[in-house]
């Protein structure tokens, strides 16, 4: 079983076959380019969050502030759903925390890439969101800090502006489905996954295991829990390494 030097998740930056693609180019520009693509999907999703929260009686100021401070669609929708279902503050915060729990190991993994003292590192870590983190991963535990921050910097305003429009303009969200905008996120993740699957048989095994876990867990539990459960598939790599070392 051979693995490319860039690790399981991404193609190495110098791979001549894939050079120049957004997935493998580096730095602020690459991050902003990827972030702009993802921002279109964030924007559409944010409009639907704004519309939904307004329908539950939240004020536009509260809705926009929520998006500005939290910037996490899954956590925000989760808190809103719990409150709408009659849940209390503790349940709403607990559900959002569980949904965002995956960011704990993801941000810890990128810790070595951030700069400055504790405060600055903590601030830079706020750039850890799914699409940005995955795009910035270089393999072997290394991350492209500029690419991650750039990608998030492009998505954040789109999320906040989309929320504001949804909360104030009484927009219909049917255009998201009609124009296929809901497919942007899965298409982007699929494009990155195809690159990752090309890298090794081990990556293919881990991705298949993770897909099976996600499909099973999401049938009975919220999406955030399903994503957190996918981390278990990553432990498979450790197990396979140990088996290889023992053999």
């Amino acid at each position: 079983m051979t693995e490319r030097p860039g690790g399981l998740g991404t193609a190495p930056a110098g791979d001549p076959q894939s050079r120049g693609s957004d997935a493998t180019s580096r730095g602020w520009r690459a991050g902003l380019r990827i972030g702009t693509t993802l921002a279109a999907s964030s924007f559409a999703l944010a409009i639907s969050f704004g519309v939904e929260a307004r329908a539950h009686g939240w004020s536009p100021v509260a809705i926009v502030l929520f998006s500005l401070l939290v910037f996490s669609g899954s956590a925000q929708f989760s808190a809103l759903t719990v409150l709408a279902g009659g849940g209390g503050t503790l349940s709403a915060v607990g559900s959002a925390a569980l949904i965002n729990a995956r960011y704990l190991p993801m941000a810890a993994a990128a810790a070595g890439s951030f700069r400055g003292g504790r405060w600055r590192r903590g601030l830079e870590a706020q750039a850890v969101v799914d699409g940005s983190w995955i795009s910035a991963y270089l393999g072997d535990g290394r991350f492209d800090r500029e690419k991650m921050i750039g990608a998030t910097a492009a998505q954040w305003p789109a999320w906040v502006v989309g929320t504001a429009l949804g909360a104030t303009l009484h927009l219909s969200t049917t255009f998201i489905d009609r124009w296929g905008l809901d497919v942007i996120f899965p298409a982007y993740f699929l494009a990155l996954l195809v690159d990752a699957l090309r890298s090794s048989a081990r990556a293919r095994l881990i991705a298949t295991t993770s897909a099976l876990i996600a499909a099973s867990v999401v049938f009975v539990a919220p999406t955030g829990i399903a994503l957190l459960s996918c981390s278990a598939a990553a432990l498979l790599n450790l197990l396979l390494r140990n088996v290889k070392d023992t053999a």
């Binding site: 690790g7 399981l8 998740g9 894939s18 693609s21 693509t37 939240w58 502030l65 929520f66 939290v70 808190a79 503050t89 709403a92 915060v93 965002n100 704990l104 941000a107 810890a108 993994a109 810790a111 070595g112 951030f114 903590g122 870590a125 706020q126 799914d130 995955i134 072997d140 489905d177 009609r178 124009w179 296929g180 809901d182 497919v183 942007i184 996120f185 899965p186 298409a187 982007y188 993740f189 699929l190 494009a191 990155l192 996954l193 195809v194 690159d195 990752a196 881990i206 991705a207 298949t208 295991t209 993770s210 897909a211 996600a214 499909a215 999401v218 049938f219 994503l227 459960s229 981390s231």
Partner: protein, 103 residues
């Protein structure tokens, strides 16, 4: 009623979750075993995100109209097309499929 306590609490908890690792670890690199897990986290998370985005809670979001577009995006990526082209093709095809009467 505006749930200010929820807004503030979720914001603080989310920021703490993201900041915890980098603040505690500072510039230290992870041990090799942890790096092996992180290395595998990307394909695991990607596969999980695709399933979760497409199926949704209790598989309520399953929608066949996204399949042709995603298949095209996957095929284009397989032949090393730029990511943006793959995504655009998925959007255009999905939009076209949904435009078909009865779809």
């Amino acid at each position: 009623m505006i749930p200010w306590s929820v807004i503030v609490s979720v914001a603080v908890v989310s920021a703490t979750i993201k900041a915890a690792g980098p603040v505690v670890l500072r510039g230290r690199t992870l041990p090799p075993k942890a790096i092996a897990v992180v290395d595998a986290l990307a394909p695991a998370l990607l596969a999980g995100l695709i399933i979760v985005e497409l199926a949704g809670y209790q598989w309520r979001q399953v929608d066949w109209t996204v399949i042709p577009g995603l298949a095209c995006a996957g095929a284009l990526q397989f032949v090393k097309a730029p990511v943006l082209i793959s995504i655009l093709s998925a959007v255009i095809i999905t939009s076209a499929v949904r435009g078909i009467p009865g779809a």
